[in-house]
């Protein structure tokens, strides 16, 4: 059995920090790549710099917030129907 001192390498703070740094580097690289890539945008907005990046981020934040707000009305204890 693993104990607290012998955490799996994947969950050690150092690895997690590395993953964050690596992740941000990858994101930056992908946005930067937009400068050199010219696809065939269909609507105009999809051809603008970094569109897919900001759109993905914004809509996901919006969906999480919307779900959270909806949750205030819709969430019930998971024993709700057992009564």
């Amino acid at each position: 059995m693993n104990n607290a001192e012998e955490k799996h390498w994947l969950v050690r703070p150092k690895t997690i920090r590395g993953l964050w740094i690596g992740g941000f580097a990858l994101l930056a690289l992908l946005v930067w790549a937009d400068k050199f890539i010219h696809g065939h945008p269909s609507f105009g907005i999809d051809g603008t710099f970094g569109f897919y990046a900001w759109y993905g981020l914004v809509v996901c934040v919006a969906m999480v917030v919307f779900a959270k707000l909806l949750g205030f009305f819709l969430k019930r204890q998971d024993t709700y129907y057992h009564d």
Partner: protein, 564 residues
């Protein structure tokens, strides 16, 4: 070869009849049946020549039990593959009822895909509803029993709509043929509603997330594949280009995402994501171009594989831990590495990551929206693609395999379950890298290249920034021991509570009214009794002379009337 031995046998019948033999073959022979039957079915499907091949007469109608073309073949193929993979995963399932029901269910799905007329389609459609109910019912727990009855009632309602629609349509047109329709008459509209109920379209979407997670670890794998995808098949064949489907599909896409985001049960998350994915297909059917219909068909094909894979991974966790809530799980990657890797492959596929099967199928649907200049639909599809990664692509593996250390250290599941997961993971990646074989069997010629540099970079941007949003918003996504109310609240809560309150409020009035009527009846009985008692008027004896006297009076009256 095989069809030489079984000439004229509809492929689905092999699965159905073979399933009925499962309880009678010994334990040693059972795996041979479970793995062999889907392969024989698959071989028979591919031996079919295009056109109607098995036609029987019923009254004045001709039933085309087998009508093969590229669309039928595609769905019959994936249903057979799914029966094989699901069978392998369920090889050690002790409840034979589940296996029998699942194989009858699969056989009927194959038969629906091959049915050339509305009557035989309806018969197989309804047997599917019964068989899938039995898959849930076979668990035998109180909760699954109740759930299966709710599931059954919803599908019987859908079946009633479908049957009414079919009857009206046949009377209107004089034809039983199952061909493309427009929802412009009562008959075709009812048929469409019947189909949409099985696709888990609004307003009755809740049956899916209610019932599927209550099946066994292997039952849910079968359930995920057939009902909704058979509905997608009939929509592609029956209602291509019906505009209403674009709106229905878009609603389903976001309904699935939002409810999955709120959910705590890992298999219910995946159940909501079925609605989400079927939403993409329904939208594509609504767009209705060749590219869109190819996209819907291809996405149904890849979806069956990766969704089954995801539910196999979740089923393996349930099998090994007995737990299904995200709040109880976490950190399983340490002891279930293979299950985690296969779950991640499924998660990447559903998210349409490059080099996975979802990438080569879903992108055809957004391309179709783009080709048709449907800006809003395209924007919604893009948002939904990001949302899929959010709710299924990351959320499922994160909360089950990573998140926190739950302290659980279960091992990977038995060999047959591991093999099924490896097989389906291989298919997900194989189709992602080499989509041509799938493209070659789609209903229309494919003029589409998924792997262009801009497309890959754009999708990676969309998905990875969606991933960033997930980790930034993680505090808001903390799992709670909750469920989310859905339309099923109406029949699970409102209706029973209303009925109970109705009884409570109206039972005194009811008692008062009944007492009052009983009082009247008592009075009448007493009066009758009085008249019939020994002193009563009707019980008294009369002299014969009285009768003669009255006869004279009557004759006199008659005589007078005669003179007048």
């Amino acid at each position: 070869m095989i069809s030489d031995f079984f000439p004229g046998i509809p492929p689905g019948i092999v699965l159905i009849l073979g399933a009925l033999l499962l309880p009678f073959v010994g334990e040693r022979l059972r795996p041979v049946f479970i793995l062999g039957l889907p392969l024989i079915t698959l071989a028979l499907v591919w031996r079919l020549t295009d056109g109607a091949s098995v036609v029987v007469s019923l009254l004045q109608y001709e039933l085309v039990l087998v009508r093969s073309d590229s669309l039928s073949r595609l769905f019959a193929t994936i249903f057979s593959i799914m029966a094989f993979g699901g069978g392998l995963f369920a090889l050690k399932q002790e409840k034979i009822l589940e296996l029998v029901a699942a194989f009858v269910y699969a056989g009927c799905a194959v038969s629906v895909a091959l049915a050339g007329d509305l009557i035989s389609l309806f018969v197989y459609w309804e047997i599917m509803a019964v068989a899938s109910t039995l898959v849930v019912l076979s668990v035998g727990a109180a909760n699954s029993n109740r759930t299966s009855m709710r599931y059954f009632l919803v599908h019987m309602f859908g079946g009633a709509l479908l049957m009414t629609g079919i009857v009206i349509h046949i009377v209107d047109t004089g034809s039983t043929a199952f061909t493309a329709m427009q929802p412009t008459s009562i008959g075709t509209m009812l048929i469409l509603f019947g189909f949409l109920i099985n696709a888990a379209a609004p307003p009755l979407s809740a049956w899916l997330a209610d019932a599927y997670p209550e099946a066994s670890y292997s039952g849910t794998v079968f359930l995920s594949a057939f009902t909704t995808k058979a509905a997608v098949y009939v929509l592609i064949r029956g209602f291509p280009g019906a505009e209403i489907l674009i709106y229905v599909g878009c609603f389903m896409i976001f309904y699935g995402i939002i409810y999955a985001l709120l959910e705590n049960d890992m298999r219910r998350i995946l159940a909501y994501s079925i609605v989400n994915q079927v939403g993409f297909m329904v939208t594509a059917v609504g767009i209705g171009t060749e590219m869109a219909l190819n996209g819907a068909a291809a996405h149904a094909f890849t979806h069956i594989i990766y969704k089954a894979l995801l539910l196999m991974s979740a089923g393996a966790v349930l099998y090994q831990t007995g737990k299904r809530k995200c709040t109880d799980l976490g950190g399983l990657f340490q002891s279930m590495p293979l299950t985690m890797i296969c779950g991640v492959v499924g998660a990447l596929s559903i998210s349409s990551f490059p080099l996975t099967s979802g990438f080569i199928s879903k992108s055809m649907i957004s391309q179709a929206a783009s080709d048709e200049n449907m800006f809003i639909v395209w924007m919604l599809l893009m948002a939904a693609s990001a949302g899929v990664f959010l709710h299924a692509g990351i959320k499922f593996p994160w909360f089950v395999f990573f998140q926190k250390d739950s302290g659980l250290r279960p091992k990977d599941p038995p060999w047959n379950m591991r093999l099924a997961m490896i097989l389906f993971s291989g298919l997900c990646i194989g189709l992602g890298i080499w989509p041509e074989p799938l493209y070659a069997i789609l209903p229309f010629t494919v003029n589409y290249l998924p792997y262009t540099v801009p497309h890959v970079v754009n999708m990676l941007q969309l998905l990875l920034f969606s991933g960033l949003a997930f980790f930034l918003m993680l505090p808001m996504m903390k799992r709670t021991l909750t469920i989310s109310l859905d339309v099923d609240w109406l029949y699970r809560k409102l209706l029973p509570v209303t009925a109970r309150e109705f009884v409570r409020i109206f039972s005194p009035l009811d008692r008062f009214l009944r007492d009052m009527v009983k009082g009247w009846i008592k009075i009448i009985i007493q009066a009758v009794q009085r008249q019939n008692s020994s002193e009563g008027l009707l019980a008294q004896t009369e002299h014969a002379g009285h009768m003669a006297q009255w006869m004279v009076v009557l004759l006199a009256v008659y005589l007078v009337l005669n003179f007048l």
